[in-house]
């Protein structure tokens, strides 16, 4: 089996700050991490590899330092990685990103056919969850989103059985291979690298592909290939209310409680 896992490097959202004057993101000094959902996707692939044997190729599009997320993936068991890196890719929205990633997967398939592509449920920098369905649509693969686990692979019939997390319960589906699976956090616990594997991965070479390495229609890439544009970014506006503040140190509890109850009743809420 050949599994491809899409891993994106993202700024750690817990550390992102906004410049209060310019209203822009302060990215400087913000650590980059592998998108957490993508690590759960990788873990799902690794468990298939442990059980059935498989080759895992990690695919990432991003700036040169995104090799870090590929090395991190190799340190816990991925076999190989490709970084798609070119100025022509910069500024891609989800439509252009899914185009570039799917063209790279087509190139990879030429030498080594792919059975399953894994992606995270979403990337935490944009929270869009669009790239996975986009890649599946472009490649004509089956799509299984919000995957909690794979229950079986029938290589004879070329189908997998998987569980999906949905509102109100869990759906068990059967999907023909090849399939694209997006993975939720609840699916598994991501393993840690052993020290020797970590050291080995740091020294490993990551293959970098620029736009010359695979077939691409350049107008569909980057800013030019992105139908959506950002008009402006700004800090969340403060709410336009003048709160009525009461303090139990100054006003009796009963009085406060009655004031609030009356206000609620006046607003016709009860």
């Amino acid at each position: 089996m050949h599994l491809v896992v899409c891993v994106k490097q993202v700024p750690d959202a817990t550390e992102v700050k906004v410049d209060p004057v310019k209203g822009t993101l302060v990215r400087q000094g913000v650590p980059s991490i592998a998108n957490p959902y993508d690590m759960h996707a990788l873990e799902m692939a690794l468990q298939l590899k442990d059980e059935h044997g498989a080759k895992i190729t990690v695919l990432s599009m991003g700036p040169p330092q995104a090799t870090d997320v590929i090395k991190r993936s190799i340190s816990i068991g991925a076999d190989d990685g490709r970084l798609l890196c070119d100025v022509a890719f910069a500024g891609s929205d989800t439509l252009a990103t899914s185009y570039i990633l799917s063209q790279a997967i087509k190139e990879i398939e030429k030498t080594d056919p792919v059975d399953i592509v894994f992606a995270g449920k979403m990337a935490i920098d944009g929270d869009t969850a669009q790239v996975g369905p986009g890649i599946a649509t472009r490649l004509g693969y089956s799509l299984v989103t919000y995957c909690l686990g794979i229950d079986g692979i029938d290589t004879g019939r070329s189908v997998i059985k998987a569980r999906r997390q949905l509102e109100g319960g869990c759906e068990v589906v059967e999907a023909d291979l090849p399939v694209l699976i997006t993975v939720v956090k609840e699916a598994n616990e991501v393993r840690y690298a052993s020290l020797p594997d970590l050291i080995k991965s740091i020294r490993s070479d990551v293959t970098v592909w620029n736009k010359e390495f695979f077939e691409l229609d350049i107008p569909q890439c980057g800013l030019k290939g992105s139908p959506t544009q950002v008009k402006k970014i700004f800090p969340p506006p403060p709410k336009d209310v003048t709160p009525e503040i009461m303090n139990t140190g100054e006003t009796g509890l009963d009085e406060i409680a009655n004031t609030v109850a009356e206000a609620v009743s006046k607003a016709g809420i009860l």
Partner: protein
């Protein structure tokens, strides 16, 4: 052909998702600004009998594809049906709910149509000059807002979470046009099949549906103290919500969590107790009609967005509120 604004009408097993009506409400505003007609698109099996419902919430027309292959949601047949309709009728704007289903479907449809798609918008409006849809959404954990537009590809697609837009009134006297279309697929064209669906009642609690929410945070101090919040919620006919800190502490499960990584709620009344009001919490509840915040720290950020703020110990104030509401209800019978 007159311009149109389309809303995907989401239903599961014959039950509509309210987000569809919320989007029809917003869609009406957009349609007016564009001088366009407002259309619902309803896909499923045995849904033709239900096709008038979107009209009652404001649709001028409803496109319907009723087919056994659409009995439960699958990406391929749903996307196939929608893409064919869009190609034929060419809407300007196409909105869907940012639900499990809507996020899966919108990504596939936008890719087929090679158009732009903006997820989880909180503000949608038509720019007066350009007549383009301005789509505003939070990014980076709610730390920043971005306004996005799609200049030339059509339709301009966006998803919106449940309870972000307000619910329009239902008017059963409205009249509209129902237009049926064919799916034109066979089962063998589809590469996924449902084996079974296992209901999990713990995930069927929907905090989004509550009209009154009494939410507690780390300041409640202990899971057992949540019974005080439950008592207040019961008197008000509401439910209990939680901050992420309270959920992480194991006091309540995730279905109760309000905020960026929890649920967006828009109740008539939101009472928060012992919640600091971090931006990631605020984005999930700031649309509430009335906010009452209780916190012992007078500088807590939650007070900036509250209509009423009570500075003091939640463990004293919450029971006092319960008592006051109980008394009031007793008096009014």
């Amino acid at each position: 052909m007159k311009k149109s604004v389309w809303i995907f009408i989401e239903q599961t097993d014959g039950k509509f998702n309210d987000v569809s009506w919320e989007l029809l409400g917003k869609g009406r505003e957009l349609a007016t600004a564009l001088d366009a007609e407002l259309c619902g698109v309803l896909l499923g099996h045995k849904v033709i009998e239900m096709a008038e419902e979107p009209v009652y919430y404001g649709a001028d027309k409803v496109f319907v594809i009723d087919d056994p292959l659409l009995e439960y949601y699958r990406t391929q047949p749903y996307a196939h049906g929608l893409v064919a309709l869009v190609k034929e009728y060419k809407p300007e704007v196409f909105l869907m709910g940012a639900t499990y289903l809507g996020r899966d479907l919108s990504g596939a449809v936008a890719t087929h149509l090679k158009t732009g798609l903006t997820a989880d918008c909180t503000v949608l409006n038509i720019d007066e000059e350009t007549k383009l849809l301005h789509q505003t959404r939070p990014a980076f954990g709610g730390n920043i807002m971005a306004t996005i537009y799609c200049a030339s590809a059509r339709p301009q697609m966006a998803t919106v979470r449940p309870r972000v837009m307000s619910m329009p009134d239902r008017d059963a006297s409205r009249k509209g046009q129902i237009i049926e279309a064919k799916l034109g697929l066979k089962e063998t064209d589809i590469s996924t099949r449902r084996v079974e669906f296992v209901c999990d009642p713990s995930t069927s609690f929907r905090i989004e549906d509550a009209q009154v929410i009494v939410a507690g945070g780390r300041g409640i101090g202990d899971g057992a103290n949540f019974k005080l919040l439950k008592e207040l919620a019961d008197v008000l006919g509401g439910v209990v919500g939680a901050s992420r800190a309270a959920v992480d502490a194991g006091w309540l499960d995730w279905s109760h969590q309000v905020g960026q990584t929890g649920h967006t709620v828009r109740p008539r009344l939101y009472i928060s107790a012992g919640i600091s009001g971090a931006i990631q919490h605020q984005v999930g509840m700031e649309g509430s009609d009335m906010i009452i915040a209780i916190n012992k720290d007078p500088d807590a950020s939650i007070f900036k967005i509250a209509d009423y703020g009570i500075v003091g110990d939640a463990l004293e104030i919450v029971p006092a509120l319960t008592e006051a509401f109980r008394k009031m209800k007793g008096e009014s019978g």
